[in-house]
């Protein structure tokens, strides 16, 4: 394993960088999209609730690989050419946003409904009370689950290997077929994944205990 790091260190680190970059981009956009659909689900407008429900159920029940391959294979047919990294990031964003929407929704619903009523009674509009009163309180509840979503994102970003996204997993495969030392290569790749995910998951567990 040491020799793998010694010989292919730069490639692995490059892959790790791509994995992190893609995860951070996907987290950012899926937070926005996810929160939007979570708010849709809690509005009194039935049409928005139905839209949100459909979006969430569809993207939660279809494999990430199908979504990613869709963007990698179908979009170039009709619109512009997309590279593997972009297709993978879009797929990850859509897939994760459905899970984040569920998380944020349960966060919103765990805020006492009196808060909303109080805000409305004080003359705020629905959007004002959502933005200024409910969401700031909801985000406190959802930080540990969001952290876990980020861990899942880092792990799921390995689908980029299917679409030549040059992430850590992809580099690992290239190195494995060059060095023929599959066990040690995949162990090295595993160590790099754990370097990101393990501390994060212990921190989230700690945070969960502190907030509970």
């Amino acid at each position: 394993m040491i020799s793998i790091f010694a010989n292919y260190g730069p490639d692995l680190l490059l892959g790790l960088g791509r994995t992190l970059l893609c995860s951070v981009i996907a987290l950012f956009f899926s937070l926005i999209i996810g929160s939007m659909f979570a708010i849709f689900e809690t509005t009194p407008i039935k049409f928005l609730r139905v839209i949100a429900r459909i979006y969430i159920e569809v993207f939660r029940n279809i494999p990430l690989l199908v979504i990613t391959m869709f963007f990698y294979v179908v979009i170039p047919l009709t619109f512009a050419k997309v590279d593997g990294f972009t297709a993978g990031t879009i797929g990850l964003t859509l897939y994760t946003s459905a899970f984040i929407a569920e998380t944020v929704r349960s966060g919103i619903q765990s805020v006492n409904s009196g808060q909303m009523e109080g805000a409305r009674a004080n003359g705020m509009t629905f959007w004002q009370s959502m933005r200024l009163i409910i969401l700031p309180q909801a985000y406190r509840y959802v930080i540990p689950p969001l952290g876990n979503q980020f861990i899942n994102l880092v792990k799921n970003s390995s689908v980029l290997a299917f679409v030549a996204g040059f992430d850590l997993m992809y580099q690992g495969n290239v190195i494995a077929s060059n060095s023929l030392d599959t066990i040690n290569t995949y162990m090295a790749v595993g160590v790099l994944y754990l370097v990101i995910t393990m501390p994060l998951s212990y921190y989230m567990r700690h945070l969960e205990k502190k907030l509970a």
Binding site: V73, T182, M198, Y202
Partner: protein, 218 residues
């Protein structure tokens, strides 16, 4: 456009996709059974805190949980032959699924038992049950009830994740769809639509089942 759909959904292609779906479901069912049993045992071991054993089991569970499933699949399929074992793609998938999912389930089981009020255990012990009797008859049934949603959603993600095994040429529904649209680019969109529908039906049915079970047991 419409003719593409009609041609793509010829009976031959649909049967071919359904054959793939059967493989997907077969692999999923075996993995679900295996990981449920192993996961429950590991979760209980981690919960009851046997000296050293539980700490080691817990650490290994955390390690596996934090690795991508795809890496485990690669490790089993391409790594094990280096030490003399050569699993077929079906068995490699099942083995990696069981390794990964039993770690996930162990965590669910452990937190499920933790969520049961400790007073239940004390009450059972005070009534003369042994520790293992109290665990089996009092704690686990109550924990089970709390765990159902988490377990079922884990099984749903297991079914979705079997699609990753196309990379080791498991002839599942994803792989068969790729073969069909590989022959004719006009079939790409119909095939993806069909894939989405098939996965959605299977997974959504399972999530409806979970809601039903939750209601019935509550």
């Amino acid at each position: 456009m419409l003719t593409n759909f009609i041609n793509a959904y010829s009976s031959m292609n649909i049967v071919y996709l359904l054959e793939g779906l059967a493989i997907t479901i077969f692999v999923s069912v075996i993995s679900i059974i295996g990981s449920y049993i192993i996961g429950a045992i590991l979760g209980i071991i981690r919960y009851i805190k046997i000296k050293y054993v539980s700490a080691i089991v817990g650490f290994v569970i955390d390690l596996i949980r934090n690795l991508p499933l795809l890496l485990i699949i690669f490790f089993v399929y391409f790594g094990l032959p280096n030490i003399g074992l050569k699993p077929s793609s079906v068995w490699a998938t099942i083995i990696s699924m069981i390794i990964f999912e039993s770690a996930m389930l162990a965590e669910i089981v452990r937190s499920g038992i933790l969520a049961v009020d400790w007073g239940q255990m004390e009450g059972a012990r005070a009534n003369g049950l042994t520790y293992s009797q109290a665990m089996w008859h009092i704690m686990l049934p109550q924990a089970m009830k709390k765990m159902i949603p988490a377990i079922v959603s884990q099984f749903i993600s297991l079914i979705k994740d079997t699609s990753l095994a196309t990379i080791i040429v498991l002839p599942d529904v994803m792989h068969n769809a790729q073969i069909v649209y590989g022959q004719n680019t006009n079939y790409i969109i119909p095939m993806f639509l069909m894939l989405a529908v098939m996965y959605f039906v299977v997974c959504y049915a399972l999530s409806l089942l979970s809601r039903y079970l939750e209601k019935r047991m509550a």
